[in-house]
């Protein structure tokens, strides 16, 4: 691990579970992060307004007109994705302009973040939560080709607790970066490309998480303490090798 050089490094390298805020205009919940924050308020993807309400809404950062339309389209699309894969939970997408305001042609660069969250309290003992954060950049190049760059993090917490002295906590996060070039037709088609990329990345990360949380940690536990006597295991292995050698020698 690399030592830190400032506490700002630490804060920016720590992935915290996403918080939920209610949009008063639409009555829907949304997710908050640094990208939709202004002071202590967060912009709702459903109404484009900040909550808790701020004095001068117009002064606070909002996407340009066309980008806001694209943001609504992205939120509607990822809401369906959320419903199909998470069967519950909350999704939010935020987009922001880079140097130039986005137009409908799709040829202007922009960036955004896709957030998804689901929590389960299965019973009084077991609890789980999944938070995914996909920060992306869309960089249209020459011709009708664009480069898509996504940094994805999934924070997964699982726990079972009979009481404070009998408990299992499996918690942490995995991160991966993905880059892809693809053709586009207009600005809406960027959302489709980001959508299929996120879908594929989440499926891969889900498999990795399952492997690390349940497979790797189990193997490491076995490395720490063997339920079998080590000497017995060793001599059994030697005996098997002898048998194999014997058979090969025939």
């Amino acid at each position: 691990m690399h030592p830190l050089t400032s506490s700002e490094d630490l804060l920016s390298s720590v992935d915290k579970p996403l918080k939920v805020q209610r949009c008063q205009e639409t009555g829907k919940n949304y997710l908050t992060c640094d990208y939709n924050r202004d002071g202590d308020s967060f912009r709702s993807p459903w109404s484009n307004k900040y909550y808790p309400s701020i004095e001068d809404e117009a002064e606070a950062p909002h996407p340009s007109k066309v980008l806001r339309q694209l943001e609504q389209y992205a939120n509607d699309s990822f809401d369906i994705y959320r419903d199909l894969y998470y069967e519950g939970g909350i999704s939010s997408v935020y987009l922001w302009d880079q140097d130039t305001d986005v137009d409908e042609s799709g040829s202007v660069e922009f960036a955004g973040v896709v957030l998804l969250k689901k929590e389960i309290d299965a019973n009084t003992k077991d609890a789980g939560s999944w938070d995914s954060i996909h920060v992306f950049e869309v960089v249209p190049g020459s011709g009708k080709s664009a480069a898509y760059k996504i940094t994805s993090t999934v924070i997964l917490d699982l726990s079972t607790e009979d009481n404070s002295d009998n408990s299992i906590y499996l918690s942490g996060n995995l991160t991966r970066q993905t880059e892809k070039s693809q053709t586009y037709t207009d600005s809406n088609s960027h959302i489709s490309s980001i959508g299929s990329m996120v879908e594929e990345i989440e499926s891969k990360l889900r498999n990795m998480l399952q492997e690390v949380y349940f497979g790797k940690t189990r193997d490491i536990l076995g490395d720490l303490r063997s339920t079998q006597d080590i000497e017995v295991t060793k001599s059994e292995r030697n005996r098997q090798q002898e048998v194999v050698k014997g058979i090969q020698g025939l």
Partner: protein, 263 residues
């Protein structure tokens, strides 16, 4: 707001096994920017208390592992196999090592516990048996596995107190595992032990308790996997096909709680 020392001690409790040196460096960086008086002292006293009370250390002394814990603390020094030593908590090493007679009158129990520990803990381990000030028999097993090449570290610590007259065996098994390839995953688990046994059966009882503990983790893992993990995010939508992104996405019929999880 919580006091700085309370924050520091909760961070220490959550710290992963291994990498103590880099963890301490990080703490100093954070505290260095704060306006706290004498940050070094806060870190070292919190760490010292945590290591004596809860997270016992293995330290090489004369080529073998010795234990640093409240159980073998004798004045300012720690007693080990035929040695007494001081421990420098800031540098994590033994100091002022001297030979000493350490006879607890439990040598045959210590030998059979050592035999059990050595045959089930393949890595860097230490077994410890002694009599406490209240007359109970204390048994401790600590095992460390550092595998930075494969991005993981793990620690096992079990501590038991056995009361010969009542036959009561009480203890606590704790395991922490840290896996950090392209991310950070921690398994932290503990289990309280409360059993009845005899002195003659003590080591066998501990062995079966520790086997059961491991098997119980595997049972709970499958429950967490089946009941929680699988219900957080599906592998594929219920119709088993991927999402049709684009304009036709409007053709999907959303579930009951369309659009953003109304409650």
């Amino acid at each position: 707001m919580a006091s700085v020392s309370a924050i520091i001690s909760s961070m220490i409790k959550d710290s992963p096994p291994g990498d103590l040196a880099s963890f301490k460096e990080d703490l100093h960086v954070i505290l260095g920017e704060s306006k706290v008086d004498n940050p070094e002292k806060i870190v070292s006293s919190s760490l010292e208390e945590y290591q004596l009370e809860e997270d016992f250390q293995l330290v090489p002394v004369k080529g073998t592992n010795e234990l640093v814990s409240k159980y073998n603390k004798d004045g300012v020094k720690f007693s080990g196999d035929g040695v007494k030593f001081g421990y420098d908590f800031s540098k994590d090493k033994a100091i002022d090592i001297e030979t000493a007679e350490t006879e607890s009158g439990l040598s045959s129990l210590a030998a059979s516990f050592e035999e059990y520990v050595s045959s089930h803990f393949p890595s860097s381990y230490k077994s410890y048996v002694s009599r406490s000030s209240t007359g109970k028999i204390v048994l401790i097993a600590v095992d460390l596995k550092h595998n930075d090449a494969n991005y993981y570290n793990g620690k096992w610590q079990s501590v038991y107190e056995f009361d010969e007259t009542s036959g009561k065996l009480n203890g606590l098994i704790k395991v922490k595992i840290h896996y950090y390839e392209d991310g950070n995953v921690v398994l932290a688990t503990k289990s309280q032990v409360s059993e009845t046994t005899t002195l003659g059966n003590l080591v066998a009882k501990i062995q079966s308790v520790e086997n059961d503990f491991e098997l119980d983790i595997l049972t709970k893992f499958s429950r967490l996997n089946e009941n929680l993990f699988k219900n957080l995010r599906r592998q594929l939508p219920i119709n088993r096909s991927k999402v049709q992104w684009g304009k036709s996405i409007k053709n999907y019929k959303l579930g009951q709680d369309v659009a953003g999880g109304r409650d």
